[in-house]
């Protein structure tokens, strides 16, 4: 007899979404002068709210507010006092954890289990971690600059930060926590399809009594991002998003004094050797590409499986994929939620069609997709080779391309044969092999016998066209210090 799980919906009543939001500038919510855009619940297509599309004068006001705060109270504040603000923010995130998780799932489409168990706890953890660095910066850098002040570290000033839609509040935490810990002030633009948790964060800053102007949140789309990044009053640019836009930003800051860090796309290889712990490797593959609907820059989107176990592994993988529960993000038993937007869904569909046209074999997990909303069944392509577009281009969705290899050297060669270099996975019970392969992989993050693990203490970032700079750990402070 089948064990059917009854619906287990998380209640929406804990969140209070207003019909329209302003911009958070200088500690206040202001109406701004830009036009309006709507944000939608991708699981139902319902309009959630209207937000401002900040224009040039809005960006000016935000940068000016950040500058005033930097030149004023924040710039003079000793690290141990800045730390206490960050601790307050961390605590408030913990206190409002359930509300923030529900809000994130509604605006982004990700399952509540993930926003509750992964996103929001990591948000709090990032603020806690960086709070503790605020008064220890002299230990963070590898030696002071010659001629610098005692302690040897100085903030950069005003940071302009642009974040993507895949982990909205977590990406905000990755940007704001280290920036503030180092004594900078920020103007942050959340993605146009996921502004709500950033606007909730604005309220958290008010609850923490953060001095006005230290954090400014301006909503908008690509144009607002461009205005912010190119604004002459910004000292430091931090961007997470596509490699395509990263290139534009790198060009735009050329010749200026602006420092920049970029965390861009990826096409990570998840390498499974014949002596891998098979059941855990299957979990790791599934987690690697279907966690967060595959909307993950470091997703394990290429499975490289040793030919000798390929059939056995694929059978186990398909069996496991058939257990994935795709559906209502607010149902606590959902494993795979909605695709974030119609545009992203179109892209995923297009590239999947390309995969078939290129001759790869397509298999999707059997699942019933809801009528309304943006949905895509977890899918894998076998018979993929390096020359296929689906092995080279980032799909950014729940689509896995499967390739095989015979020897460790071949695995490494294939894994590295990409302009990207963000992450990689290695599955084998042999310790020396893990370390040797990790050495040879040109990727900023190597996960061995695990995947998609994040921690505020662990530096994250890519090689090559996956960008430069690291977020997390002691290394994550470098980007925000003038040393």
């Amino acid at each position: 007899m089948a064990f059917e799980y009854a619906p287990a919906p998380e209640s929406r009543s804990i969140v209070d979404i207003r019909p329209s939001y302003g911009l958070f500038i200088g500690g206040e919510l202001v109406s701004g002068s830009g036009g309006r855009i709507k944000t939608v619940n991708p699981a139902t297509e319902e309009v959630l709210a209207e937000v401002v599309e900040a224009d040039a004068s809005d960006v000016d006001a935000a940068v000016a507010a950040a500058r005033a705060a930097f030149d004023g109270a924040w710039g003079r504040m000793p690290g141990r006092e800045r730390a206490k603000y960050l601790y307050r923010i961390a605590r408030i995130v913990q206190e409002r954890a359930r509300e923030l998780a529900v809000l994130e799932s509604i605006d982004n489409g990700k399952p509540i289990r993930e926003s509750r168990d992964v996103d929001i706890p990591l948000v709090a953890a990032h603020f806690f971690y960086y709070a503790g660095w605020a008064d220890k910066l002299r230990y963070a850098v590898a030696g002071p600059r010659p001629g610098s002040q005692p302690g040897g570290t100085r903030p950069l000033g005003v940071a302009g930060q642009v974040i993507p839609w895949n982990f909205p509040l977590l990406m905000l935490a990755w940007k704001i926590a280290p920036a503030l810990a180092c004594g900078n002030t920020v103007v942050l633009k959340p993605a146009e399809t996921t502004p709500l948790s950033a606007l909730a964060f604005a309220e958290i800053c008010q609850q923490a009594s953060l001095p006005p102007g230290v954090v400014n949140i301006i909503t908008g789309a690509g144009e607002t991002g461009r205005l912010l990044v190119e604004h002459p009053g910004v000292d430091k640019v931090a961007f997470t998003g596509s490699t395509e836009v990263g290139r534009l930003i790198a060009r735009a800051v050329a010749g200026t004094r602006k420092r920049v860090t970029l965390e861009l796309g990826g096409k990570a290889a998840n390498i499974v050797f014949e002596d891998a712990p098979i059941d855990q490797a299957v979990e790791g593959i599934v987690n690697g590409i279907f966690f967060n609907q595959g909307h993950v820059c470091c997703a394990g989107s290429r499975l490289l499986v040793q030919e000798s176990i390929a059939d056995e592994l694929l059978e186990a993988l398909k069996r496991r994929m058939a257990l994935l529960r795709v559906g209502d993000p607010l149902d606590k038993n959902t494993d795979v939620g909605a695709i974030n937007s119609a545009a992203q869904l179109a892209r995923i569909r297009e590239l999947s069609a390309v995969g078939e046209a290129e001759g790869a074999s397509r298999w999707s997990a059997p699942c019933v997709l809801p009528e309304r909303g943006y949905w895509f069944a977890p899918t894998l392509f076998t018979g993929v080779s390096q020359a296929h577009r689906i092995a080279r281009e980032e799909i950014f969705g729940p689509v896995l391309s499967v390739l095989t290899f015979r020897t460790p050297a071949e695995a490494v060669e294939k894994a590295n044969n990409t302009p990207y270099g963000l992450s990689a996975g290695v599955w084998t019970e042999k310790g020396s092999r893990i370390l040797a392969i990790a050495d040879q992989l040109r990727a900023g993050v190597v996960w061995a016998n695990t995947f998609n693990r994040f921690d505020p203490a662990s530096p994250f970032g890519g090689y090559k066209e996956s960008g430069y700079g690291r977020e997390g750990g002691r290394h994550g402070l470098e980007a925000y210090l003038d040393h």
């Binding site: 730390a83 709070a131 220890k136 050297a409 310790g431």
Partner: protein, 286 residues
Amino acid sequence: MTTDRIGVRKTYKLFIGGAFPRSESGRSYPVRSASGEFLANAALASRKDVRDAVRAARAAVPKWSAATPYNRGQILYRIAEMLEGRRAQFVDEVALSEGGSDAARTVDAAVDRWVWYAGWADKIAQVYGGANPVAGPYFNVSTPEPCGVVGIVSPQASSLLGLVSVVAPAIVSGTTAVVLASEDRPLPAITLAEVLATSDLPGGVVNLLTGRVAETAPWLAAHMDVNALDLTGVTDAGLATELERAAAENLKRVLRPVQPDWFAEPAIDRMTALLETKTVWHPKGV
């Protein structure tokens, strides 16, 4: 005619294994304020209390050292929240115990000091450990590890700020402690114990004994199940030397007496002195 309300006075006991027992010896001694007035009778710890405290500290080691650094940081931060909540009480006790007019500044510094150490829990390994570039196909990494149980003689004069400055660095990395409070100014220490008991710190991580240092410290120094000895608060040079000699029996790591300016920001040596370093090698090869 109205009568003034009679206060309910606090009983000051030892803090062992998360509980507040009296000394097994049944003894106590009078504690006086800086200006000489009687404040309370504090428990006069015996060698058996030392024995029990070490046992409790040892029992707490597996769980405390296995907690994630994030978790230890969270617990220490919560302690700071509890300290802040009792600010007024601490200011009174420090003012009575130490005299002078610095009590408020002292208590604020003590809370901030605790917050500073709390933030080290998940960072010390990044500053004090790391990958070592050896000449060969080996992965080689050094990580700091807690040393086990430390016996601490707290500063005699600085009854709160000095106290937190020796206790916090000891426990932040997973070590547990048996602390001998300032002999003549023990009250802030006992109130600190109450703070620890109401935060999420597991019982036994910090154990606090009040009494005569010359009587209890030798038992701590000679105890074969104590791994390190912090003699910061030993004011008698002869006693300090004896204690260091006794500690040599099982090669305890020893911190000798010092009298720093407790208000100044510390370096990381109070943490690193109590850390072991483990270096692991692993070949790299397919």
